[in-house]
Amino acid sequence: MSRTVDGVDAATAPTTAATRLTGLVGALRAHGFGIGTGETVDAGHALAAVGFTDRERVREALAATLLHGEAQRPVFDRVFDLYFPLGHTRAAEAHGNTPAGPADLAALRDRLAEALSTGDGAALDRLAAEAVGGFGGYGSGPESDGWSSYQTLSRLRPETLLVRVRERLRAAPGTEESEFTDRLLDDEIRRRVEAFRERVRTEARRRVAERQGRDRVARRAVAGTADTVDFLLAGRAQLDELRRTVRPLARKLATRLAARRRRASRGEIDLRRTLRRSLSTGGVPVRPVLRRRPPRRPELVLLCDVSGSVAGFAQFTMLLVQALHDQFSRVRVFAFVNRVDEVTGLIARGSADPAGLGDRILAEAELTGWHGQSDYGTALGEFADRYAEALGPRTVVFVLGDARTNGSDPNLAALKRIADRARRVHWLNPEQPSLWGTGDSVAPAYAGLVEMRPCRNARQLGALIGRLLPV
């Protein structure tokens, strides 16, 4: 372990540490972290205990005292980088603050290729600082100028260095071309490039914070954790990030379901066996014997609106349920816009290419009649008519959608028929309850027949699924 990586910016040392800590805690609270006074006090003690000579220790000390879970870490790291910036970036600024020309760009790319191949973290930090200083500045007035990681990266284009980095690594002593691990090289380089991009983003945020004030940037420019992004507002990149959380989430839920299942089967006391056992304690029934109920796995039906804005929510849930399929004796998935079609097979095959799932559903399933707008009434009616056999006393149905039916008849009778045949129907609505019933939403009418719950982000979905799924 290297003992003295880079210390915290000299100006940060004890005198201003308390102010920085207060600022950091304030920004984290603004991101929804529950941090009490006791924890802030602990954080102060922790800083005093580890000192300021090693910035990574400062980071870990604050993380240990202020965080309650790993999901908070990405946001914490970005906020930390603003309040406790690297000390040496100031030096790099001295020669990197003027707009740089093409010759500088070529030289910087050379040095970047070298640093990427050796994996030298300190050099990569310096290069990120120089790159933002030389190629990330825009505007000229004091109000309109700023620093952009996007601009820096689109000039620097680190991803195009792949071949050069690969050549350097292959030329390094002790590597043979025929090595098995040679096939891993390109992906390893891509991961290093991605890590460098993150350094550039960190540096750009730091500079903007210097201009506009830390507190403001720490609250606005640091994105929240992916699992709290609103399904209805998530962009493509956020949906991609969410998709990567499907498996870990499914794993967690599977364990949770297994625990609930075992707990449910612990059941009541078996009086006869308890008395028999009590013979060994002189007839006093010390340890009760519990009767075990035989396990029986439930069936799950998912009925999803996959139109327009709610598509991201539906796809995420479909992938999640697919990843959980071995928890159930049967899982069937239906999609609709204004017509219903079964997509169970598409989704089972879809785990190989989750990103393309939405397009495939729209291309291969019959979901629309003569117009492309959702029509809940028609879709529910068609489902109740055509797929009644999918429902039974062991089936739990999840309906996913915003209940915005574009003015057409909600067909409450159809939902009632579904609810009557199934063991349970849950409706998950990606809109906040204050919007239910506004405009063309018929949510309150459906909520009168089945239990409707808001489900606005992946975290809520995980919690709801863990609680509501039958065991």
Binding site: M1, R3, G34, G36, G38, E39, D42, H45, A46, A49, V50, D54, E56, R57, E60, A61, A63, A64, T65, L67, H68, G69, E70, R73, G174, E179, F180, T181, R183, L184, D187, E188, R191, R244, R247, R251, K252, T255, R256, A259, R262, R263, R266, S280, T281, G282, V284, V286
Partner: protein
């Protein structure tokens, strides 16, 4: 109240390394703080990354006594805290036929009939103690309330005996695999440490240390392949314990370098699901498995 086991972050790292536990900067820093601030340490992370081993290593370097509460579903107060020895109490009641009930009662709720379980044992311990509450997430929610009480003031009340307070705080480690979210209240009591998969360089050192005789170049290749598997979308990615197992297997097979054949034949040591094996083999360009 500090436990006073360590003098600095470096001291933690150096002494743990001497017993064969290689601490990341995060681990060394947080262990030092748990010692300094006298707070319980909650260690979360996937299986096989050395959470349990960390508590054992701290025990070993400090010469403390290890008291372990292994959590499981259905673990309860009588397993975690204390229990009265009913059988022995019954015998005592039957033996003392001549006595008054008051006398008997005072007697059967005394020390002699008390069965201390890990939490009580750790609180009463006179010598330096490491209390390991392992796999906390496996226990039912009710047990958390119990832990919360004990870990707040490090004291336990046995109604028949009175309140027992720790004379010295045990160095307390709770581990969790996050199969269930632990309550916010319990988290607040603890310092939080997430142990994920180690960085490449650290994992190489762990493997080299745990599998003596393994060639350096092979250790490096092993860790790179494991890193590639972790970046894949698999049901269960290999942990440090699987890296170690794989390295041992390769050594036993006498493989001095990786090639397609040996990787294909031993992939089952790293991956536990058949569909993961198939997927990884395809991604690694191995011919049909």
């Amino acid at each position: 109240m500090t436990t006073g086991f360590f003098s600095s972050v470096d001291d933690v790292a150096d002494r743990l390394a001497a017993t064969g536990y290689l601490a990341s900067p995060a681990v060394a820093t947080t262990v030092f703080l748990a010692d300094r601030l006298g707070k319980p340490l909650l260690v979360e992370g996937p299986a096989g990354v050395g959470k349990t081993e960390l508590a054992k290593a701290v025990t070993e370097v400090t010469g403390a006594r290890l008291v372990r509460l292994q959590c499981y579903e259905g673990v309860d107060e009588s397993r975690a805290l204390y229990e009265w020895n009913h059988a022995k109490q019954l015998l005592r009641i039957t033996a003392g036929r001549g006595e008054s009930w008051d006398e008997t009662r005072t007697d059967i709720f005394g020390e002699e009939f008390l069965l201390p379980r890990p939490l009580l044992t750790a609180i009463r311990s006179e010598q330096p103690t490491v209390l390991l509450i392992d796999e906390t997430d496996k226990a039912d929610v009710e047990v958390e309330g119990l832990l919360l009480e004990v870990l707040s003031d490090f004291q336990i009340t046995v109604p028949e005996l009175g309140t027992i307070k720790a004379t010295r705080r045990p160095f307390t480690v709770l581990t969790s695999n996050a199969s269930r979210e632990l309550s916010e209240a319990l988290r607040r009591r603890c310092l939080f440490l997430y142990v994920g998969f180690p960085e490449e360089e650290l994992e190489r050192r762990i493997v080299t240390l745990k599998v003596p005789g393994l060639d350096d170049a092979l250790a490096a290749s092993v860790v790179r392949v494991v890193g590639a598997l972790r970046a894949m979308d698999l049901r269960k990615v290999p942990s440090v314990s699987e890296t170690i197992d794989w390295a041992r297997t390769l050594l036993a097979l006498g493989a001095d370098r990786l090639d397609e054949g040996v990787v294909r034949e031993t992939l089952g040591v790293l991956l536990k699901h058949q569909d993961d094996i198939v997927r990884a083999a395809a991604k690694l360009d191995l011919d049909a498995v």
